[in-house]
């Protein structure tokens, strides 16, 4: 976990976004979140690893922020729909 940084990840919706829905009762945002989660490394429940997802974004752009290592990002880059990932910047008050 010491190697993890918060990355801002941009993704691109699949051609047919409606096919994302796996359940007729899920909301569009739930579908989106579920799809975002598919980019994250599979966590092993028994290790008590902290959740990787920080935020799923619905309005500002298609993407999410997550705790990732550089290796995680390399794996993620190969997934369809991936656009970019970079460590978040800290901005300052003016």
């Amino acid at each position: 976990s010491a190697n993890l940084e918060t990355y801002i990840v941009h993704v691109e919706l699949p051609e047919s976004y409606t096919q994302l829905s796996t359940s007729s009762i899920s909301s569009p945002n739930e579908d989106l979140d579920s799809w975002y989660n598919s980019f994250l490394p599979t966590t092993i429940a028994s290790t008590n690893e902290a959740p990787r997802m920080v935020y799923c974004y619905h309005n500002v752009f298609k993407g999410f922020s997550a705790k990732l290592s550089a290796e995680d990002v390399k794996v993620m880059e190969k997934k369809p729909g991936f656009l970019s990932a970079r460590p978040q910047r800290m901005l300052s008050l003016h």
Binding site: I8, Y55, N59, V60, F61, S65, L91, S92, L93
Partner: protein, 624 residues
């Protein structure tokens, strides 16, 4: 704030404040350090309930939200609460939309009725900063603020200028703008140097900082009877104005180790004891310098500006008798030190003085254009009050424990941004159908160009401010309410602009949140965007642009063009007369820039459409 509304021409029970119902029905989302909810600035006296569209939350553990403070959220780095631990967010929220609080002051200075610019607007607080402001939290806040139903977003924070597809505030602001939300942001505090702006996307209102006509005057009186006017918030009544010896650690300019900035190294200098110490601005905060001087046994401090700060002086809450004098007076002080073997001085504290005829003057720290990411858009857009602003604070700077009505005086483009957010709220309340671009245009084309002495607005050197320093000028809320014409921009208009920046389809798509195909889109130069100001790079070729204005004034109105040409550039406009017959009618004109000779020096000009009732001005910044 206790003086800036009046300085902006906002008066209770009359004029634009009354016409705009003090911002009634408008929701301002403030992304900052959180809020002190129990401060009287956030009382809901006289407030209506929030609009039905409001979907936000109040995440305090106790029921402190009300009809003024309608929402308060925190995020990953928010320490588990929307509570403000630094005061910055309480200050900016109070400035934008604080309710009336009588008898506000700090150490008795800047006394008056504190009130925000839009006192009947609602506040939704999004805590995104503690020690810094993480992008993931800022994005999360903008994401939920859009869903919550805010009308204005106020961000007194930012980073450096980067391409818009990599600028997360620009991305969030674009989505907000598409939903009709105006995003007002600080221009940054990296002035007076050029190309230092943050938040410079054309769909953002980029706000620089200027002075108000109030000084908290603390005068340094030298042994030769010369008086140097400066400012300090702390003006102890029991100060005995006898002459004290002066000590300047930086007098020997060749000694680079000298502690001219009065850092902690001062504690080891024995000559400080019993003296008034001269410190230079820089390296550490002004109040820390005072703390060091006091700890080293000094009796007072004169803080002198560098050439960079010029005439921009600060009224700080020092811990000892002190003053901050301007650069020119600092030179006089040093000349006096060098003229005598036993220099002495004292202080004369004169309190709050209204009537500085240089105001508004652009603050030294206010970041300057041209925009790094899009030099064809003139930025900053506008300036507003941002120097020595009194507003709500989370704790007492006087160590008082018997009141919740704590206030503090702060400076920065953080302070000017919420002033403009408040003005935008007033305009939104008065004109609910105006788009974010229309509100921006109204503020920009009606901005003031002269100071109280009726001279051109000055910069920190008391020289006329150029357009990359002050943008369109100083906001004039009442004039913005009735601009006559507006330069509107619809979200789709930004697509050819973004393609014209030579962004890839993927980069444009990231901003638009859908696939973009710049080959299929028209591609325009930056200057062709229907912006209310012009920034042109003059080469050897003729440049021609089209602008479209919408009549929001009288139905039947005739406007004639008046051109103030930038030096070395011939400007022609066709047609020279625009005749409107109905409200909301749109008419277009062409503007052509022809270089007269090899163009080498930046210069400023303007284009103004005038009718019997209105004057609609667009500044023109020309650079080689």
């Amino acid at each position: 704030t206790t003086h800036s509304p009046i300085f902006l021409g906002l008066h209770q029970n009359s004029g634009f404040w009354r016409e705009s119902n003090y911002g009634k029905g408008v929701i301002i989302g403030v992304l900052d350090t959180g809020i002190e909810p129990n401060h009287p600035s956030f009382s809901d006296e006289g407030m209506p309930p929030p609009p039905a569209k409001w979907k936000g939350k109040c995440e305090f553990n106790t029921p402190v939200c009300n009809k003024k403070l309608i929402g308060a959220r925190f995020f990953q780095d928010g320490n588990g609460s929307p509570a403000d631990e630094s005061g910055h967010g309480t200050h900016t929220a109070g400035t934008a939309a604080g309710n009336f609080v009588m008898g506000a002051n700090v150490f008795g200075n800047a006394n008056g009725t504190a009130v925000g610019v839009a006192p009947h607007a609602h506040l939704a607080i999004y805590k995104v900063c503690t020690t810094g402001c993480s992008e993931s939290d800022i994005l999360a806040a903008m994401d939920v603020a859009i869903d919550d139903g805010v009308d204005i977003l106020s961000l007194s924070l930012g980073g450096s200028s980067v391409p818009f597809h990599n600028d997360n505030i620009a991305l969030g602001a674009y989505s907000a703008m598409e939903k009709g939300i105006l995003v007002s942001c600080s221009a940054g505090n990296n002035g007076p140097f050029g190309s230092t702006l943050s938040n410079d996307a054309p769909w953002i209102l980029t706000v620089g900082a200027s002075t108000i006509d109030r000084q908290i005057r603390a005068t340094a009186v030298l042994g030769n009877k010369e008086e140097l006017d400066g400012q300090s918030l702390y003006q102890p009544k029991d100060f005995h104005p006898r002459l004290y010896p002066l000590f300047y650690p930086g007098l020997n300019q060749s000694d680079t180790d000298a502690d001219r900035y009065c850092t902690e190294a001062l504690l080891n200098i024995t000559q400080v004891k019993g003296k008034i110490v001269i410190c230079e601005v820089g390296l550490i905060p002004p109040t820390s310098k005072g703390t060091n001087v006091k700890a080293a046994g000094g009796v007072g401090m004169i803080m002198i500006n560098s050439e960079q700060e010029g005439y921009t002086t600060r009224a700080d809450a020092h811990v000892l008798p002190a003053t901050n004098i301007n650069y020119a007076d600092g030179l006089k002080l040093i000349a006096y030190l060098e003229s005598t073997s036993s220099p002495v001085a004292t202080f004369s504290f004169k309190g709050t003085i209204i009537g500085d005829s240089h105001a508004p003057a652009v603050a030294s720290f206010s970041s300057r254009g041209p925009s790094y990411s899009s030099p064809g858009i003139l930025k900053p857009d506008i300036i507003g009050p941002g120097v020595n602003i009194l507003a709500a604070y989370h704790e007492s700077v006087e160590n008082s424990t018997n009141t919740k009505a704590n206030f503090h005086v702060l400076s920065g483009t953080s302070m000017s941004c919420p002033h403009l957010s408040g003005v935008a709220a007033l305009l939104k309340s008065a004109h609910p159908d105006w788009s974010p671009a229309a509100i921006k245009s109204a503020m920009m084309t009606t901005a003031d160009l002269v100071n109280l002495a009726q001279n051109p607005i000055e910069d920190e050197k008391h020289l006329p401010a150029d357009l990359f320093t002050m943008g369109s000028g100083h906001v004039n809320p009442a004039r913005a309410n009735n601009p006559g014409l507006i330069y509107d921009i619809e979200p789709k208009d930004y697509i050819p602009y973004l393609c014209g920046l030579n962004y890839s389809d993927r980069e444009v798509g990231r901003i638009l949140q859908r696939k973009a195909n710049c080959k299929a889109e028209s591609r325009i130069s930056e200057t062709q965007l229907n912006y209310p100001s012009f920034s042109i790079v003059v080469g050897s070729t003729i440049q021609k642009y089209t602008r479209t204005v919408t009549n929001v004034g009288d139905a039947n109105s005739i406007y004639r063009v008046k051109i103030d040409q930038p030096g070395g550039v011939n400007v022609t406009v066709k047609p020279r007369i625009l005749s409107f017959s109905k409200v909301n009618q749109k008419l277009s004109y062409d503007i052509t820039f022809t270089p007269l000779s090899p163009y080498e020096t930046p210069s400023d000009g303007s284009l103004t459409w005038t009718s019997a009732k209105y004057s609609v001005r667009s500044p023109i910044a020309a650079q080689p």
